[in-house]
């Protein structure tokens, strides 16, 4: 057995520890600082001569010079296999419920538990036979996990064409039993288990090709789906000042989005928000599967008081798990809240490394790191022909709510859609507080493009008139302009805003969105006989009220039809007399 490479601590600066090492050092390898009985996980982030500078994933309290550091030869990795769904991990993939059972209220430092329970038995069904040729990532068999077929794949780390030497027959196996052997082109054989290990900072690339994201991802939020859509395999970001509702938006998206699996990365945010998700999700039923929402969810949580370095690992752990399920042909949505905290962790580390700071003291590599992270999203065609996708939605918490800051700007360059939250909208209690005047999307919506454009146009026009009215007053505005203004307000109120507390209104299906948007477009494009401003205001107020109750009516129900007829009648009555 190879002798372990060791070193000794010579410098401690908050969560950065420097060790003097005899022998070689590998960049980004995992090291353990031995302090008494404790083993504290760290990652080498810079090598200078025989000194390894490491970020420590734990509190560094009481670490002394001369404490021994053990190097592991491995990059920071996660366990991938059946049993991930429904779990709650910290940024280093420690299962938090198991930790709580063992150690009680507090997160004891230096304790690392198996992410997946080795002993659990899984019903394995083989899909290949000996002598078959496979590639890394090919499906060898599957086990049932919750409602999915969890495919067991040839290890992603193997290269070239592989030959199946043996494959286990149908039966129950645990994670430590060999279920297949593969021979690579050099003749070496590799054991395959139900579980495999993958380094989190390296994207999984075991697929035939990456495709353009073209299929819409339905979030059931009208403002997003209709005006600023996101596609499966795409990326989007939600920047907003504090209290504008970023987290609420993410929570509702995680409930209603039409995807197979949701991975929530709570990165450097409040513990209270994670608690709400993890206490309510087991009880909420997913209407599409009739199973608890938790069954399709994985939570990676590194809250703001947990060690800072693990914020970085939490987003990478999350995206690696997302990619793993994508390899099974599933559509995965990764919600990261908030990427700014991760950027701040980088800034803290960069400061301790005494690197030359960039803008607002963020490191110069901020942009490339953010870009590389979002680039891990995408739709891929697997070797078997099936498609799978990872969609990434990240929130950004800009300092002072100012979108000009480096993290927001670096993110905007690489995402496909921008949902900017505004303080004005959230103060006016408009939900969602996404500002339609600053947001954009490069993806195609399922809404008729002409209708979509009409929607954008009326919002812009209405805003212009509103600005004008502030100066010249209502009296100075022409009736025609005033009606345009009311139309914009009406569209915003009745279509873009949703009532998150109304069981029907909180989530709108694709079908309904197409139908209602078309209907409202009809209203926006029509003229009505309105003699003066008071009449116009009254007309739109009445219309608003009826559409509000329409929004709360189940789509296609009796009530829905009844209200629709009522609205049509009302509109008909106010149509101008036809000129012959």
């Amino acid at each position: 057995m190879e002798k372990k490479r060791i070193g000794h601590v010579i410098k401690v600066n908050a969560n950065m520890v420097t060790a003097q090492v005899e022998g070689s050092i590998i960049q980004n390898e995992v090291a353990y600082i031995l302090h008494g009985e404790e083993r504290l996980k760290a990652e080498v982030i810079r090598v200078r001569q025989n000194r390894a500078e490491m970020q420590v994933y734990e509190s560094t309290q009481s670490i002394k010079t001369q404490d021994v550091v053990e190097f592991s030869n491995e990059l920071l990795s996660v366990e991938l296999g059946p049993g991930l769904l429904g779990q709650i991990f910290d940024g280093l993939q420690n299962p938090l419920p198991a930790l709580a059972e063992k150690y009680g209220f507090f997160l004891k430092r230096g304790v690392y538990l198996e992410a997946l329970a080795d002993e659990t038995q899984w019903d394995f069904t083989p899909l290949v036979k000996p002598q078959d040729k496979v590639l890394a990532g090919s499906w060898l068999g599957f086990v049932p996990e919750k409602i999915f077929k969890h495919y067991i794949m040839a290890p992603f780390s193997l290269g070239g064409s592989l030959e199946v030497v043996s494959i286990a027959p149908e039966g129950r196996y645990n994670l430590k039993q060999v279920i297949a052997q593969l021979k690579d082109s050099s003749g070496a054989t590799h054991d395959v288990f139900l579980q495999q290990i993958w380094p989190i900072k390296i994207p999984i690339k075991a697929y035939a090709e990456k495709l353009r994201p073209l299929e819409p991802l339905v979030t059931k939020l009208r403002l997003i789906d209709s005006l600023f859509p996101v596609n499966r395999g795409g990326t989007y970001c939600i920047p907003g000042p504090f209290g504008a509702g970023k987290t609420v938006l993410q929570q509702l998206t995680s409930r209603h989005a039409e995807v197979d699996i949701v991975i929530i990365a709570a990165c450097g945010e409040r513990a209270g928000e994670v608690v709400e998700t993890l206490k309510t999700f087991p009880e909420l039923i997913d209407p599409r599967t009739n199973k608890p929402l938790m069954d399709r969810t994985v939570i990676i949580c590194n809250t703001s008081s947990m060690p800072v370095a693990a914020r970085e690992s939490s987003v990478y752990t999350a995206v690696t798990i997302a990619e793993y399920y994508r390899q099974m042909g599933l559509n995965v949505l990764l919600l990261a809240d908030s990427t700014s905290r991760w950027a701040q962790a980088m800034r803290e580390m960069s400061g301790r490394l005494e690197e030359i700071p960039g803008e607002e003291a963020f490191p110069a590599y901020l942009e490339s790191r953010i870009a590389a992270f979002y680039e891990r999203a995408g739709v891929v065609r697997l070797y078997g022909g099936t498609k799978g996708s990872v969609t990434i939605g990240g929130t950004v918490s800009p300092a002072g709510g100012n979108f000009e800051e480096p993290v927001t700007q670096a993110t905007l360059k690489v995402v496909g859609a921008f949902h900017g939250l505004s303080r004005e909208r959230s103060d006016a209690r408009k939900y969602p507080a996404i500002d339609p005047l600053i947001s954009w999307s490069k993806y195609n919506s399922f809404i008729n493009p002409e209708h979509q454009e009409a929607g954008h146009a009326i919002l812009r026009r209405s805003n212009e008139i509103a600005q004008m009215m502030k100066v010249i007053g209502e009296e100075g505005t022409s009736l025609k302009d005033y009606i345009e203004y009311l139309k914009g307000e009406f569209f915003d109120f009745i279509y873009l805003q949703q009532n998150a507390f109304d069981p029907v209104d909180e989530a709108t299906s694709q079908e309904r969105q197409i139908y209602v948007f078309g209907f409202i477009c009809g209203i926006l494009n029509s003229e009505y006989k309105l003699e003066d401003k008071a009449a116009a205001l009254h007309f739109f107020q009445q219309l608003r009220q009826s559409l509000r109750s329409w929004n709360s009516a189940e789509y296609g129900s009796q009530e829905f039809k009844k209200i629709e007829e009522k609205i049509e009648l009302f509109l008909e009555k106010n149509k101008p007399e036809k000129t012959p």
Binding site: F105, G243, V275, K279, T280, M306, G351
Partner: protein, 430 residues
């Protein structure tokens, strides 16, 4: 007996560097100077060079003074003996009582496992309608009071300390004016609340470094009580001074500043304190109310900005009252549905009408003619300000709700309020 070191090689600000071996990061040391003995904490280790921040400050410190490492991190005594006592930021008594050394706990204990938290669900009544009715304070909530210098935030804290329905109150003073410290002591004493209070006071005259310890020491004591099933309210005033102390130390340590001179880890530093607010599954809770003064009334200043991202809402103290707009308790939804069926109705209606009143005021100041409706709003606004918003008002939640109905009935007809008929029938004063 630990070895004492005398070779201090650098003194910069309140940070000294001494050559020593086998010292743990964040360990505590005793520094003996001609001015007496002070505690110091290790904040940087570079080979044999140990940098420490000296709690009593470095004034008069000699390079030959003795530094003795105690071999453990900062600790604080806990337990019922602390009740009614007053300490400074390093835990030394200021009230001429005996020093305590029982049940020592390390400050800055690890973070709580999120799965052991419960969703907050209990209201803390304060007798202040602007809080109880409109932005209820919830057990385990962390809320800052954003305030401009000169606002009566300490008076507000003192009132909450006297009236809040909790078991224990811990007051952490950071850079507190000496007068304010006396004010707290006298006010709480006069109301007989001192016996359930513990003070950790750092006054503006004390060394900067000690300020950094106050939140940690207060919260470590609070955590110990909470684990024993007590409901603890921690009041911190003023956290902007804490951030400024961080800034001072990090500049002394020659760290690259990020924003307006504050260190890049300001968010993490604040969060690790505020996140101590917790409702333990099967034990007590910690609630934190912290004053954050906003330099120049600027909410985008790094301190209030970072705080806002961490906390669960905020109270804006402006012109001597808690401003209804901008103030927010993010957790109020968890509790205000269970108090009385009209609670949410009163909350929403009165705020909406008050918003209309503000618009009317604007119109009035521009010289527009007041309609009958405007007149009603003006009457309503004045009553609301006088009977609800004023911090002098001191009534229980139920009384405040009744008063709300009375004000509405004095100014409007039921239809004008837009309240659902079923609620009107039940609650509208006859």
């Amino acid at each position: 007996m630990q070895k004492a070191y005398t070779n201090i090689i650098q003194i910069a600000g309140d940070v000294i560097t001494v050559e020593a071996q086998g010292v743990g990061y964040l360990d505590i040391a005793e520094v003996t100077t001609r001015r007496g003995v002070s505690l110091a904490q290790v904040i940087h280790i570079d080979n044999g060079k140990i940098s420490l921040q000296v709690f009593a400050g470095s004034r008069g410190l000699s390079t030959q003074d003795k530094v003795r490492f105690l071999g453990h991190p900062m600790r604080v005594a806990t337990g019922d003996n602390l009740l009614g006592r007053i300490f400074n930021g390093s835990g030394i008594p200021l009230d001429h009582g005996p020093a305590l050394s029982e049940n020592l706990v390390d400050i800055g204990a690890p973070s709580v496992n999120p799965v052991k938290r419960i969703i907050p669900n209990k209201i803390i009544r304060t007798g202040i309608p602007m809080i109880d009715v409109f932005n209820s304070l919830v057990e385990s909530q962390k809320l800052p009071i954003f305030s401009i210098a000169g606002e009566p935030y300490n008076e507000l804290l003192a009132r909450i300390a006297i009236q809040a329905e909790v078991d224990i109150i811990i007051l952490g003073g950071l850079g507190l004016k000496f007068d304010d410290y006396l004010f707290f002591r006298e006010t709480l004493n006069a109301h007989g609340a001192l016996s359930r209070c513990i003070f950790f006071i750092h006054t503006a005259a004390d060394p900067t470094v000690e300020c950094l310890l106050v939140p940690d020491i207060s919260l470590a004591v609070a955590e110990d009580f909470a684990l024993k099933g007590k409901r603890v309210l921690v009041l911190l005033t003023d956290m902007t001074n804490f951030a400024d102390s961080l800034k001072e130390i990090s500049i002394t340590m020659e760290q690259v500043p990020s924003n307006r001179g504050y260190p890049g880890d300001l968010y993490s530093q604040l969060a690790s304190r505020y996140e101590k607010a917790v409702d333990f599954q099967g034990a007590g809770s910690i609630t934190i109310l912290a004053v954050t003064t906003m330099p120049g009334d600027d909410v985008t200043h790094p301190v209030p900005d970072n705080t806002g991202y961490i906390t669960e809402g905020q109270f804006y103290l402006k012109a001597g009252v808690i401003e209804p707009f901008g103030s927010l308790s993010r957790l109020k939804q968890q509790v205000n549905g269970k108090t009385r069926p009209d609670h949410r109705v009163i909350m929403d209606t009165m705020i909406q009408l008050f918003a209309s009143y503000r618009e009317t005021l604007e119109k009035q100041s521009m010289g527009f003619k007041m309609s009958a409706w405007d007149e009603k709003l003006l009457k309503y606004g004045l009553l609301f300000e006088k009977n609800m918003m004023s911090l002098k008002v001191n009534i229980p939640l139920e009384k405040a709700l009744d008063l709300g109905w009375q004000i509405l009935a004095d100014c409007f007809t039921p239809e004008e309020t837009g309240i659902k008929l079923s609620i009107i029938e039940q609650f509208w004063p006859k």
